[in-house]
């Protein structure tokens, strides 16, 4: 980190020389805007008027070559570099813990090529997720990646944090869509992964950067797999008496190898907390939305098969209206005032595991939170929204309505609850996170999660980024500057 004004001005001159003076900012208001993402802790920190983590510079490159020059300069000055896309992450992945250069990639927003024959798109990674989708739709194509944060995200953020969308059950997570990548390595070399994802040419370089959260380099261009816009897409909803029956219905749908584009199962507390408030539907029990898409014949077939499974288990068919309403308003849950927000203390502590372990995992986390933090009146809700052939993700949250007023105390409490929830996930065959990423929030638990396998990630990091300049303090890696 730069230590005095003289040095700061020196660095600023270099940065301006690389990207132009308009694209380097040191203004207070710019630096303040980049001091947080959607992570609860830095937001709470700002809300309570604590001194935030500020970047020293906000820089807007337009090409991989500019990024390369910036990284070379940053290495010479041992200055942290934080790649920034949409700032929609919830784990503090873009918070500039050690100051440094905030590398906002949003000017790198060009679509390079849409291949309508192979159904792929190559684009710079700063393009906004919704803008990309609009452009693909003009060609009758879709990325089919609809995260709740789509309107604010960037393509690079999808990949760097292993994002997932509401239709991931059929179309996969962001990592499944990546064909190839261009990456600027921490010391400035520009590399490309192999042009296609499936091969027999050794370990996959491409997947090493997927999910790396800016700690291994800057992903500057990506080629993604696409899908045609389906002829038909239909949603339906069902109501189950309890969560376990709903989970069993979902498991049967997936293991009988139907391919719904979505299954979204809400536990009874979240059915009560959100479904009525956002969708205006008054139901009790476990509410499930299912979606199918494709040709009309396929949709008819899959919809009938899924209905048969649900009804056999006592699921009440609520028809198509509630499901279609959910689809139209699927992002409304994430807008204020609908999204849980400050002053409430909240955290999305999601995880994924196999079908045999999912209910015990859910129950263990519920117990860890509601019993462990009873004196704070902690509550827990979950829904199950990303289904795999072998298991399912639980998107669960904790809430404390009246957290400590003291910012430091609130931070400690938040971290403690999260750690307990994460350890309950690990103890029950789960992982730290399915698709919200790691950031600084969970980084400290990465060595614990990986055990002796951590040395592989740590070794690669050390080789690629000996000065530790790339997004320090995230994903379990430290700053060497």
């Amino acid at each position: 980190m730069a230590s005095n004004d003289f040095l700061m001005d020196l660095i600023r001159t270099e940065l301006m020389d690389i990207v132009g003076s308009e694209d380097v900012s040191v203004s207070e208001i710019d630096r303040y805007a980049y001091s947080t993402d959607v992570c609860w802790i830095p937001r709470m920190w700002l809300d309570r008027l604590q001194r935030p983590c500020l970047p020293d510079f906000v820089v807007h490159p337009e090409s991989a070559e500019e990024v390369s020059k910036i990284l070379k300069a940053a290495n010479r000055f041992r200055l942290p570099v934080i790649p920034y896309g949409g700032g929609t992450g919830t784990q503090g992945g873009t918070v500039p813990l050690f100051g440094g250069i905030m590398l906002d990639l949003k000017k790198m927003n060009k679509i390079i090529r849409i291949d309508e024959k192979s159904l792929t798109v190559a684009a710079q990674t700063g393009i906004n997720g919704q803008v990309l989708e609009w452009e693909l739709n003009r060609h009758g194509l879709t990325l089919a990646h609809y995260p709740a944060s789509e309107y604010g995200t960037t393509l690079g953020g999808y990949i760097a944090a292993r994002g997932s969308g509401t239709l991931s059950t059929k179309y996969g997570k962001a990592e499944d869509m990546v064909m190839s990548l261009e990456v600027v390595l921490p010391q400035g070399d520009i590399i490309r992964s192999l042009p296609i994802p499936n091969h027999s040419c050794g370990p996959d370089v491409r997947q090493h950067f997927v999910g790396s959260e800016g700690t291994m380099g800057v992903i500057t261009e990506v080629t993604m797999r696409l899908d045609p816009i389906p002829e038909e897409r239909r949603f339906r909803s069902y109501l189950f008496g309890d969560l376990a029956t709903g989970l069993e219905a979902g498991r049967r749908i997936m293991t009988q190898r139907y391919r719904p584009c979505t299954i979204r199962l809400y536990d009874p507390p979240s059915t009560q907390k959100f479904i009525k408030r956002v969708l205006g539907i008054e139901v009790e029990g476990s509410f499930m939305v299912t979606g199918v898409d494709g040709s009309k014949a396929l949709v008819d077939l899959e919809e009938a098969g899924i209905r048969e499974i649900c009804e056999l288990l006592g699921g009440r068919d609520l028809g198509s209206q509630a499901g279609e309403t959910w689809w139209k308003q699927r992002y409304d849950f994430y807008y204020p005032p609908f999204v849980p927000d400050l002053p409430e203390l909240i955290g999305t502590i999601e995880s994924t595991t196999t079908y045999d372990k999912i209910l015990p995992l859910y129950e263990a986390k519920k117990k860890a939170i509601e019993d462990g933090y009873k004196e704070w009146g902690a509550t827990y809700t979950g829904h199950f929204s990303h289904w795999f052939p072998w298991g399912v993700m639980v998107y669960d949250r904790f809430y404390i309505k009246r957290p400590p007023q003291d910012a430091h105390e609130a931070m400690q409490l938040h971290n403690m609850i999260w750690a307990d929830a994460a350890r309950a996930s690990l103890a029950n065959g789960g992982v730290l996170n399915d698709h919200h990423g790691i950031g600084f929030k969970l980084g400290w638990l990465m060595p614990e999660q990986y055990g002796s396998a951590w040395q592989i990630l740590a070794g690669i990091k050390k080789m690629l980024d000996p000065n530790g300049i790339m997004n320090p303090g995230k994903l379990g890696f430290s700053f060497q500057g």
């Binding site: 208001i29 710019d30 947080t36 906000v58 807007h60 949409g86 927003n109 906004n128 807008y335 005032p337």
Partner: protein
């Protein structure tokens, strides 16, 4: 003034950490800066409110005057926070503190001197008003409020409308000289001068004895219908205020105007003031349906979700490069429809989109198209 203290507080709280409308903010899309997004602006205002940032930092004014205040982020917002009014309110605070950019400070005096906010290089007046005045009838029921853009930037709209009225034998009057309605001043946060202009216009309208005012400019229409009363400018009871597209649509039905149908492929750009602030979507399309054989090829982003062409927020005064880029993008969306004609219904939008045209559809104000067909 337009937000209560409570609404202001809730809007800052709602927007300051929310990234959900970045895609709908044209300035954010062009500048690619977090600070120029609804979230960044609201977070900045939160910090200003609490003394973390200082109002007198020139970067603050720079950020707050980079917004089209076009209502599109609010249109996408499930919480319906009025981000745009929040920004106009913040600009007002800058003006009150004497911290607005120089160009903003100059605009009031320019309006008083020339009757128009447009730059000194544009001849504001003008000749079109003088030639149109010769056709007016004192005390006529219909008063045409042309607006600054139709008097200076895009006079063809006023000329065409006068020709329509003459051709149909409809008596009308104009204000001479016609004051600016105050809309640019309101958008720039100069509420004192906006109120003065609004009161001046309302008194002049009252003195004219007109029973209906037809606005050629969408922004003037918004100002008269939704902002005059809040600025203490009282219009006469029973006065009907219409945008020209509404008036034309009504005439086509009530007076049974018929036209020989034209065959060009057309598209329509909804001005923000009609698209969102007054919800006038159907009348211009009804007029086009009476003129053309084919329905408009709708642009990507239309009606309530239409993108700003760059005219909003007084940005033409403070950030002309961003305005040009917004116009270029909007024109590109029109070109993508494959249309031969790009029709809009506000002279200011027509002027900006015409400037953005290199090839592709020819830009016309709706009034010009009607006049060509009469």
């Amino acid at each position: 003034m337009f937000l209560t203290d409570e609404e202001r507080k809730l809007t800052i709280q709602g927007c300051r950490f929310c990234p959900m409308c970045f895609h709908a903010d044209t300035v954010a899309g062009i500048t690619c800066r977090e600070t120029c997004s609804p979230r960044g602006r609201a977070l900045g205002l939160f910090a200003l409110e609490h003394g973390v940032l200082k109002w007198d930092d020139p970067a603050v004014a720079d950020v707050l005057y980079k917004s089209f205040t076009d209502g599109l982020p609010q249109e996408w917002c499930a919480g319906h926070y009025d981000h745009d009014e929040l920004i106009i309110d913040a600009r007002h605070r800058l003006v009150e503190k004497g911290l607005a950019p120089e160009e903003v400070k100059r605009v009031a005096s320019r309006i008083l001197e020339t009757g128009s906010p447009y730059s000194d290089t544009v001849k504001a007046d003008g000749d079109v008003l003088k030639e149109s005045i010769t056709s007016t009838t004192s005390g006529a029921d219909l008063l045409v409020f042309s607006g600054c853009a139709a008097r200076s930037l895009y006079p063809s709209s006023l000329r065409s409308f006068v020709k329509i009225l003459k051709a149909k034998g409809i008596p009308f009057q104009l204000l001479n000289p016609e004051p600016c309605c105050g809309m640019p001043l309101y958008q720039l946060g100069d509420f004192t001068h906006a109120a003065q202009q609004a009161k001046d216009v309302s008194q002049r309208i009252a003195a004219s004895g007109a029973r209906e005012v037809v606005c050629l400019d969408a922004d003037c229409f918004r100002m008269l219908t939704t902002r005059f009363a809040r600025f203490g400018a009282q219009l006469p009871d029973g006065l009907r205020i219409s945008h020209v597209c509404e008036w034309l649509s009504r005439m086509i039905v009530e007076e049974k105007w018929t036209f020989e149908k034209r065959s060009e492929r057309i598209t329509y750009h909804d001005p923000c003031s009609l698209a969102r602030f007054t919800r006038v979507h159907e009348p211009p399309r009804a007029v086009l349906a009476s003129l053309f054989a084919q329905k408009p090829l709708e642009m990507f982003g239309n009606c309530g979700k239409a993108f700003c062409c760059g005219e909003g927020g007084g940005m033409f005064l403070t950030n002309p490069e961003i305005v040009r880029e917004a116009a270029r993008r909007r024109f590109e969306q029109a070109r993508n429809t494959g249309a031969e004609l790009l029709v809009t219904s506000s002279p200011a939008c027509a002027a900006l989109l015409s400037e953005a045209r290199t090839d592709g559809p020819v830009v016309r104000d709706l009034v010009e198209i009607v006049e060509e067909s009469i």
